[in-house]
């Protein structure tokens, strides 16, 4: 069981890069951006019922928010002409207000002109700058560079720098439905939805996709990542489009959704982090941001509307979990979480930022020491959350074939019903969360962190989370034997759940309990300055950072394992 993980060599599913949808999209970038702008404009007009007064109000709100953002929260990546652009918008609005009089239609036309400017700017801003040559280069650099580092660290002796004994796949294990994913990517359009714990996820997933021999996926990456120039290069090379979380105005959001929907309809495989941002608490996402997810459903319905009813028009949702022993940003994330939930009851002691330096330090440690990462690919589903078979057909719980189009039909025709699709999006979100829990892989480090935190909590049953975190060190010591027994109880339950298909576990959990605990202690949050869990001199366990322990413990939240304490 331990070593049965096989490194596959995956042949590319579409060898010629000219055939990649993302390359085609890049070739037609200009027209595509224009199309997105026009469609977004139409969407917004529909939303406001073509009422010039409401449009005016929306424009003014957008203008106000954008000006505020430029003033209060400027970033390096922001273009220089932002101030000028919004100044012009302001002038336009003033002009219309004072000069255009008369009919509603005339006013609407004038405001629409301004709207068009804005959606054009936004869609240009969002669009990716994918270049196939950069992609190939990046992929080579990543793979080559990483394997050099890895071999240098592990294979001793002269010439180790040129050894090929270890590759990245030794460090990052890909498990699950890889064959199905590759198969479906040639048939229809794949929308991958991974869990999100670390900024590294974006790069990691990009690499996974290329290892699996699939053409690059497009995905929305936070614009903040483009602030770091090295990331910006990677992101562009991997086909990322930009999502600016500072812009919460309706016009931006509609343009973003239109971009995503059109790209999926274009046939570009896409990737969303459905949690929206990194999980602050370390809990597997349980409430998803549904905005982008709804675009997958919309695109599917649009394909049916356009009569593309065969598998080429089908959209496959593939949940993915990324399992780490160690999350670089954990201290910052958990502090965010605690200060949000605890408000005045929690105050930060220090602030940690992820800088390029820290990331490179982590990468170096990651390759020279050991901290395995595994990526589990879940079973593909249609947009209604039905599993699909190898041929791309949807199957219901009893294995009967389901025609996905029928979910969008009333009285024998495909109809557009925004409210219906909103409900469907919620259903899909729930299904994705369910799948996340099923394919989540338990590591030794998750187990030890979970057990240690729960034991401490059960010994201090009267304290709430914020009091627990401030417990003095001497109250945080756990007897090894007691700890070991509790680990065994939890592990038994995990295996029980695994037998029911409700969770997955890493092979190293089949070792003896002492070995598992040692492995877990060695790995849990291994590169943090303050370790979440260590053995003290007398062989008992203690923590140096209770909030980090809480963070790693949360990975096993949502399985009812707390009941064992």
């Amino acid at each position: 069981m331990e070593e049965n993980y096989i490194k596959h060599q995956y042949a590319p599913i579409l060898p010629e890069k000219d055939e990649w949808p993302v390359v085609k999209l890049a070739r037609e970038r200009k027209e595509f951006v224009k199309k997105v702008a026009t469609l977004s404009e139409g969407r917004i007009l529909d939303l406001i019922g073509k009422n010039p007064e409401i449009l005016k109000e929306e424009l003014e709100t957008t203008l106000y928010r954008e000006k505020l953002r430029i003033k209060q929260n400027p970033w390096d990546v922001d273009p220089d002409d932002e101030g000028t652009f919004w100044g012009e918008v302001k002038n336009n609005l003033l002009q219309i207000h004072s000069e255009v009089s008369g009919t509603k239609a005339k006013k609407l036309e004038a405001y629409q002109e301004v709207l068009r400017k804005i959606t054009s700017r936004y869609s240009e801003e969002i669009a990716s700058n994918f270049k196939a040559s950069h992609y190939k280069f990046t992929r080579r650099v990543v793979t080559y560079g990483f394997s050099r580092l890895l071999n240098a660290a592990r294979v001793k002796g002269f010439g180790s720098l040129f050894s090929n004994q270890f590759t990245l796949q030794d460090k990052i294990q890909i498990t699950g439905q890889t064959a199905q994913l590759r198969e479906l990517a040639t048939k229809g359009t794949v929308v991958m939805v991974p869990t999100h714990f670390s900024n590294l996820d974006s790069v990691l997933i990009g690499w996974i996709i290329s290892v699996l021999g699939m053409p690059p996926f497009i995905y929305g990456a936070g614009l903040n990542l483009f602030n770091i120039s090295i990331f910006a290069y990677f992101m562009n090379a991997l086909g990322a489009y930009k999502v600016d979380r500072r812009k919460k105005n309706m016009m931006y959001l509609e343009t973003l959704k239109t971009y995503s929907k059109e790209a999926i309809q274009f046939g570009c495989h896409s990737l969303f982090f459905p949690g929206g941002t990194r999980s602050r608490s370390g809990i597997i996402e349980s409430r998803l941001k549904l905005g982008l997810l709804s675009t997958a459903i919309e695109a599917q319905r649009a394909n049916f509307e356009n009569g593309i009813t065969d598998v080429s028009g089908k959209i496959f949702i593939v949940p993915v979990t990324i399992n780490y022993h160690f999350v670089l940003e954990a201290p910052g994330l958990i502090q965010d979480y605690l200060s949000q939930t605890g408000q005045e009851r929690y105050y930060k002691e220090n602030d940690e930022f992820s800088t390029s330096y820290k990331i490179s330090k982590f990468l170096f440690k990651f390759f020279t020491k050991g901290s395995d990462i595994s990526v589990s690919i879940g079973r593909a589903m249609d947009v209604m959350g039905n599993y699909v078979g190898q041929d791309g057909k949807s199957l219901d719980k009893w294995g009967r074939v389901v025609n996905t189009q029928e979910y969008f039909m009333s009285n024998g025709k495909v109809t557009v019903d925004a409210q219906r699709e909103e409900e469907y999006t919620q259903m899909l979100g729930k299904r994705i969360v369910e799948e996340f829990h099923k394919i989540n892989r338990v590591f030794s480090s998750h187990l030890v962190a979970f057990v240690a935190f729960e034991l401490i909590q059960s010994k201090n049953a009267k304290l709430d989370l914020f009091d627990l975190i401030r417990l003095p060190q001497e109250d945080l010591v756990l007897n090894y034997e007691e700890f070991k027994a509790a680990c065994q109880r939890v592990l038994d339950q995990i295996f029980e759940l695994k037998a029911q298909g409700k969770i997955d576990s890493a092979p190293h959990l089949n070792r003896s309990m002492d070995e598992i605990i040692t492995h877990g202690l060695d790995n849990v949050g291994m590169y943090h300055a303050k370790r979440p869990l260590i053995k003290d001199k007398s062989g008992n366990l203690t923590t140096e950072d209770m909030s980090l322990l809480y963070f790693y413990h949360n990975r096993l939240h949502g399985y009812g394992l707390e009941k064992l304490f």
Binding site: V402, S410, R420, E423
Partner: protein, 352 residues
């Protein structure tokens, strides 16, 4: 909605020809073609030849079939009007023929219990929310239909058949289901309200049966209108808390399916739930009452399920708990009443 015309050619399906099913089928038949499903061939023939079902008169436009397949293939909108005891079985019979394009509206007031392999309902003392299914949840779980709605409110079949003015609530997460239900059922004499909180509306219809048993008991004890007013208002509070704990909202309990139906049921001595309470108060035991009733009063089953749920939910529901002790343990109605009168309900309204 240019598609309205095309649905006119499609009949509306009604499953179940009990008194409520027949009343709804007749109302639907005023504007549309209707196809009803009955399990027994002789009932089907009776409907098709004599336009009546077990003596109840049916509109001649109503056709009957005993083939679930034919019904599902011919109809886009289906009304499930079956007693809750048969609900799961009938749903499973229809499951192979139901498609995601079907709109399903049910009018059944009951809860189902979902047991894992090897579990016996009789021995279970506790239930978690996950193990309890409302009827719409049964449909979604057992079939491919997702656009599901329910019909609830004070709808005594006889009054509907007589053409007296009345109203109902159609609840669904999907606006299209509500709109379709309104379009099909609305008439000069029948008002149809919409509600998006389907769970809350279903629960209102289910939980009011508990209070109806209590109302019967009060009548059986010979108590008057003050007591009834007290019961109804405390009943609403209890329903609101239970509904919230089971995933509905308190506001649906305030509506037609909650207060509306509760007042009607507490004042109708013919209802089965009321009768159970009445006979309990007259000193009969549950088994004696059950032996002489044709159909199980739904409230009895609901009390068992809700009482088991209370043990995991961490809330109190004094009326339900005490009725449970009367029905399944040795408490007498008088003792239960005394207990409730001493119970420290200090706050009048604590849920809005």
């Amino acid at each position: 909605m240019a598609l309205k015309n095309s649905s006119k050619s499609q009949p509306i399906g009604v499953i179940g020809v009990g008194s409520f099913g027949t009343a709804i089928a007749n109302m639907l038949a005023e504007k549309n073609e209707v196809m009803v499903y009955a399990r027994k061939q002789e009932v089907v023939e009776e409907i098709n030849t004599q336009h009546s079902a077990s003596g109840k008169i049916l509109n001649p436009k109503i056709r009957a079939t005993f083939s679930p397949e034919e019904l599902c293939a011919s109809c886009g909108v289906l009304f499930f009007m079956i007693p809750s005891a048969a609900f799961l079985e009938v749903t499973r019979t229809f499951a192979p023929f139901l498609h995601p394009y079907h709109l399903v509206i049910h009018g059944t007031k009951g809860l189902a219990v979902q047991l894992a392999d090897g579990e016996q309902w009789d021995t279970l003392k506790k239930l978690r929310r996950k193990q309890i299914l409302t009827m719409s949840e049964v449909i979604v779980q057992e079939t491919l239909a997702v656009r599901v709605g329910c019909l609830a409110g004070p709808n005594i079949s006889k009054e509907l058949s007589d053409g007296q003015p009345a109203a109902t609530v159609i609840a669904s997460k999907y606006n299209e289901v509500i709109q379709e239900g309104q379009r099909l059922l609305r008439s000069e004499k029948f008002q149809v309200y919409g509600n998006s909180d389907i769970i809350g509306v279903e629960l209102s219809g289910v939980l009011k049966n508990i209070i109806a048993i209590a109302a019967g008991a009060l009548a059986g004890l010979g108590l008057g209108e003050n007591a009834k007013g007290l019961l109804i208002s405390r009943g609403i509070v209890e329903m609101a808390h239970l509904s919230k704990a089971l995933g509905g909202t308190a506001s649906s309990v305030m509506g037609l399916a909650g207060i509306g139906d509760l007042v009607t049921t507490c004042n109708s001595p013919d209802s089965r739930n009321f009768t159970v309470g009445f006979r309990l108060a007259k000193g009969e035991s549950l088994s004696q009452i059950m032996a002489s009733m044709e159909e199980v009063a739904e409230g009895v089953n609901t009390i068992r399920i809700v009482d088991a749920f209370l043990k995991t939910a961490g809330i109190r529901a004094p009326i339900t708990e005490n009725l449970h002790r009367v029905l399944f343990e040795d408490l007498t109605i008088e003792e239960a009443l005394q207990f409730l009168m001493k119970y420290p309900f200090s706050v009048d309204v604590d849920f809005v």
